[in-house]
Amino acid sequence: MNNDKAIIKALQSTEIPRLSADFNLRMMAEVYRAVERKKKRAYVLGLCLISGVSLALIGLAVYVFYTYFSMNFKFELPGLPKIQLSSATKSIYAFSTYIALLSLMLIGLDNYIRRKWLTKKMK
């Protein structure tokens, strides 16, 4: 079949209109636009995700405060509330503070190691 010279010649001699001279430039401009759009989409998606998670966490915190913590507000001076905590609530506060600090420390450590790894990779 590769000896079908007539077919090859006919295909080659058929006049094919050429691509416009600036096609490759326009094409690459489109590609860069697509990259920008992708970046923007990822940014908006990230923002929505962070906002959603933050709102959910705030909601959870409010729910936990109202459900598991009991507080007595005593107003000794006008405008300055004095919070009195029961002994059961105090232990929950201490535990929550411990967990919150531990989480912050671990997130910080993760961020530090990640940055170090990225710097190493860039080099």
Binding site: M1, N3, D4, K5, A6, I7, I8, K9, A10, L11, Q12, S13, T14, I16, P17, R18, L19, S20, F23, N24, R26, M27, M28, E30, V31, Y32, A34, V35
Partner: protein
């Protein structure tokens, strides 16, 4: 540039070096365009579809597995893009009677396309190629002008290699009938 080099380029593009995609655009834009223009027939549409094909390829670059050459993968995208465009426009192609094609002796085909001196024959052949359907045009364009193997054609057209061989053989018979019977 061989297949491995192209894979390296793709990895770098995916890592953020977008400008390297220009290598693929420069290397394959004319081949892709000439295939599409044979399918859709108008240059304006062909140029737009060529652009669409490259954009689709760029967006789906992470799905390229490297189990075939990049050009084969790109031709597959271009073929599918052009096919979708022709479906929307409902293009019509002349059909050739099966019995007429079966009656053509194999020996006649073997020698018919070999000599290439006859200008009138070449002109008739060009006209006959223009009457082929989209799949047939793609088959002969990629097989004869892009030197694609049967296996690569099978990937582009999503057919089995045996099916491609049969179709290639039948295209030659169809061209013979179109030229000799003047359909």
């Amino acid at each position: 540039m061989n297949n491995q080099d192209e894979i390296n380029y793709i990895e770098r593009i995916l890592a953020g070096e977008t400008n390297l995609f220009s290598y693929f655009v420069n290397s394959y834009s004319n081949s892709i365009h000439s295939l599409i223009v044979r399918i859709v027939l108008t240059n304006e549409d062909a140029e737009e579809l060529t652009q669409d094909s490259f954009l689709k390829a760029f967006k789906k670059l992470d799905t390229f597995k490297g189990d075939c050459s990049f050009s084969t993968w790109l031709f597959r995208i271009a073929y599918n893009t052009a096919i979708s465009a022709t479906r929307k426009r409902k293009m019509e192609f002349p059909t050739v009677d099966e019995a007429m094609m079966e009656s053509v002796p194999d020996e006649a085909i073997e020698t018919f396309f070999d000599p290439d001196e006859n200008e009138i024959k070449l002109q008739k052949l060009e006209e006959a190629i223009g009457k082929l359907n989209v799949e047939e045009k793609t088959l002969i364009t990629l097989f004869y002008t892009e030197d694609k193997s049967v296996a690569e054609l099978a990937r582009v057209l999503d057919l089995s290699p045996e099916n491609v061989k049969v179709k290639l053989y039948r295209v030659r018979k169809k061209l013979y009938v179109l030229m000799t019977k003047g359909i």
